[in-house]
Symmetry: C2
Subunit: 209 residues, 2 copies
Amino acid sequence: MTPETTLTPEQILSAAEDVLRRFGPAKATVVDIARSLGVSHGSVYRHFPSKAALREAVTQRWLDQEHESLHSISIETGPAGERLHRWLTTLFAAKRKKALVDPELFATYLTLVAEHSGTVDGHLQTLTEQIAHIVQDGVWQGEFSPVPVGPTARAVFQATAHFHDPGYAAEWADERRSKADFEALWALLHAGLRGPWGATEPKPGSTGR
Amino acid sequence: MTPETTLTPEQILSAAEDVLRRFGPAKATVVDIARSLGVSHGSVYRHFPSKAALREAVTQRWLDQEHESLHSISIETGPAGERLHRWLTTLFAAKRKKALVDPELFATYLTLVAEHSGTVDGHLQTLTEQIAHIVQDGVWQGEFSPVPVGPTARAVFQATAHFHDPGYAAEWADERRSKADFEALWALLHAGLRGPWGATEPKPGSTGR
């Protein structure tokens, strides 16, 4: 039993996670969540005005879990290449763990994520901004070429989709293969960040087309 | 009416495509296909021993449609960077066209593709080998750095997933955005193919970890 007076949004979200794990997103109700906390459903609605708001908060919390450690890496000092590599492998490890350790909850969250594309867009933007921060550092430090930071950060995030987009979760079970693939891609991206920019357009007439 | 004696597998596959477009993969039957050709279903089974074999042949044909023009680009001579760019944009344009012009048939094919992962694996391998051919040319010609060809070709294909994996088809409706994203990614990959290889590993002790 949780005394209603001290009920926090965080407790409700933890209970909601348990209920979602047990019943799945289609069957879980606010009443189930309230019951698991020993409170009335009115107490839950005092914090979350609707079932939709609660589901969105659960989704947001799930996505936010990744932000903190990644954010720390993005604002460290040190070589940008090493930080970007560590940022990407940390993201990949977090996604892998979620998908493989608790596949049912992972599937549940994918359903919620599909419902709240605005929440997801915000999440993806935060992640891309963290990449941009590292890329910007690399350019300032002269470690990277003078790449266009925003578009390049977006390109790095898109290029690594195989290693964080849940649509590829089935590939992640083969850890050795996944990691080899990731490192091959990283070598290419890292060389690109330090490579010959400003001469990337084929010269007119030089292509033989 | 198609005389049974001259019925070709190609005619059956075209008819199957029409029937799939009209009824969807769940409802389309071999009898529907035979009826649309004015032949008995036995005539169809003479070419394809089962409904599964027919569905697989339809899938293979759909995937093969991309191979030919891409294959031509892969075996051309000329600057490897320009060819790889053209190969990728040709693939992206073909996928976009399929997804946007005929979304119902596209969805149908995705269902079939999901059933025949072996067929798809073969398709993906063929595409990756074509990229490898171009990358190898670039390395031989000295246009690209001495990259490991196989893993790099796989990395290029994975890195461009946003522009050919049907899972991202929803993004392709915004053509301007998609093309800008693709060109930003291409600039990074192209710089990577020509960039500083052999010094991509952080030096031990240099990272401050």
